[in-house]
């Protein structure tokens, strides 16, 4: 009897805990001016939220309470509250906001404006732009470091990565990478930054201690964004023109496999369970879900038109 009771309470407890621990994926749909919300427990779209024009960039806050969406054509940021799954504020920013990132303490959101070559810093308490920083030509990628001290910016048309000191908001270094860097990702433990270079078809590995590019690794055509898999020490890179994801083994710093996905893959994020990888296929309006151990596609999820999901689009809880 008591065993039954324990088992029952355990079951109830676990049922409750799975209810809570179901990360959502927030997918920007360029063609539909919306965000598809995917419950990753069942891999289905559970809600579609209207946002601004031609949404592209996305970042989920570290506490999973908010999602910030960049809308290049309405030149604003839609702020979604995850509890109600509704837009609570629209913040006007200049020109063409695309890449978007958030500080580790969730207090600041960074937006790259690739028309006006600025980074805007949004105060997430007041939801207003508090400052802007002028950077290189066509900033297209952003990454923060876990200490919150630096912001990294990929300047697509300068072929550089800029490092911004967030204490006084100044550019402290500029590092040359491959041609037309777009999505960038930082590994805090390895002290490395990876940039997907659209025109040279490679990924630059930047050593953040030496502050220089130590290798360019060939991937597919028109690479767009990079995700890190700590568990297997790999990188995953979406290749728009190759309709594939390149797998880089970081032990040898080489591409070891290419996985066919849908057409024009763009955004890529690792699920917090560290078993699944989600890829947004812009042309095909669907997400590919990849098992990161077997490197096989295990699911496909239909989204709105022109899914992009450029940024960290899966919540941690």
């Amino acid at each position: 009897m008591s065993v039954m009771k324990t088992a029952l309470s355990f079951l109830l407890f676990c049922w409750a805990c799975t209810l809570q621990a179901q990360p959502y994926a927030y997918i920007t749909n360029q063609g539909d001016n919306s965000v598809s919300v995917i419950d990753t427990e069942i891999d289905k779209v559970i809600k579609t939220i209207k946002v601004g024009n031609k949404p592209a960039g996305v970042v989920v806050s570290n506490d999973s309470k908010r999602v910030y969406i960049s809308n290049p054509e309405s030149q604003d940021i839609s702020v979604i509250e995850t509890e109600s799954l509704s837009v609570i504020k629209i913040i006007k920013v200049g020109g063409g906001p695309l890449a978007i990132a958030i500080s580790p303490d969730d207090k600041s959101v960074y937006v790259a404006d690739w028309y006006e070559d600025n980074i805007y810093i949004i105060d997430t308490n007041t939801l207003t732009v508090k400052t802007k920083i002028n950077v290189g030509d066509s900033p297209s990628g952003l990454a923060t470091d876990p200490n919150g001290l630096f912001l990294y910016v990929a300047n697509r048309d300068d072929n550089t990565i800029m490092i911004i000191d967030l204490i006084d908001n100044t550019v402290v270094n500029t590092i040359t990478v491959g041609k037309a860097p777009f999505g960038i990702t930082v590994d805090a433990f390895k002290k490395q930054l990876y940039s997907a270079n659209v025109q040279s078809g490679d990924v630059s590995v930047v050593d953040l201690n030496q502050q220089k590019t130590i290798k360019n690794i060939k991937v597919g055509d028109f690479p767009y964004a990079v995700a890190i898999d700590d568990k297997n020490n790999r990188l995953f890179v979406t290749n728009q023109r190759s309709s594939s994801v390149s797998v880089i083994d970081r032990a040898v710093m080489e591409t070891v496999k290419e996985i066919e996905v849908g057409e024009y893959p763009e955004g890529i994020s690792l699920h917090p369970d560290k078993n699944r990888l989600y890829v947004a296929n812009w042309f095909d309006n669907m997400m590919s879900v990849i098992d990161i151990d077997t490197l096989k596609i295990i699911d496909e999820i239909e989204t709105g038109d022109g899914c992009r999901a450029y940024g960290r689009f899966i919540s941690s809880q």
Binding site: Q30, G95, Y115, R241, S242, G306
Partner: protein, 181 residues
């Protein structure tokens, strides 16, 4: 009042700021059923320069390295416009090709095809237990007109219509060749 001023200002600023890097990427998708085996259809379209035979909108074609990946073909449209296209994928096993037009020089607007970039995927899937084929062409492209207010024949809608017609013409040609009509 302030709001009005602001919106007036933003209208004035639009052309220089907002569209400096161009508008949004567009899509076109055309599917055609061809009553011939996939092998027969693939034999017709797999040569990178066969486009001059199956698309009546293409007058001439010459390719730098045949149908090898990386080959660059120069095609001349019936309008007299010339473009180069690079072969990114040539996959006989899956009967799939991917090629892309090299980006046009700034300001150039082609007659009848108001686009600045175009990447095309063409692939065959068997239908009717292999007796028939579904041929699909998918295009991702940007319109050529850089500013916010394109003339009517250069809008996103016009660009989508032009690429769709280009694909339809090609697929009709493939169908006619494969079905022996």
């Amino acid at each position: 009042m302030n709001y009005l001023k602001l919106s007036l200002l933003s209208i004035l600023l639009l052309p220089t700021l907002v569209f400096a890097h161009g508008p949004s990427r567009q899509k076109a998708l055309v599917t055609m059923e061809v009553h011939a085996s996939p092998d027969k259809v693939w034999a017709i379209l797999s040569d990178f320069c066969s486009i001059a035979e199956w698309n009546t909108k293409v007058k001439t074609c010459s390719a730098s390295q045949g149908s090898e990946k990386g080959s660059v073909r120069t095609i001349e449209y019936d309008t007299g416009e010339k473009v180069t296209e690079k072969l990114f994928k040539h996959d006989s096993e899956n009967m799939k090709m991917l090629y892309a037009m090299e980006q046009l020089e700034k300001g150039r607007i082609m007659k009848g095809l108001p686009i600045a970039t175009l990447s095309t995927t063409i692939f065959i899937t068997p239908a009717d237990n292999g007796a028939s084929s579904l041929v699909q062409m998918k295009g991702a492209f940007y319109r050529a007109f850089p500013g916010p207010t394109p003339p009517e024949d250069q809008t996103d809608t016009a660009a989508v219509a032009a690429v769709t017609t280009l694909y339809e013409t090609g697929l009709e040609g493939i169908k006619a060749a494969a079905e022996g009509k």
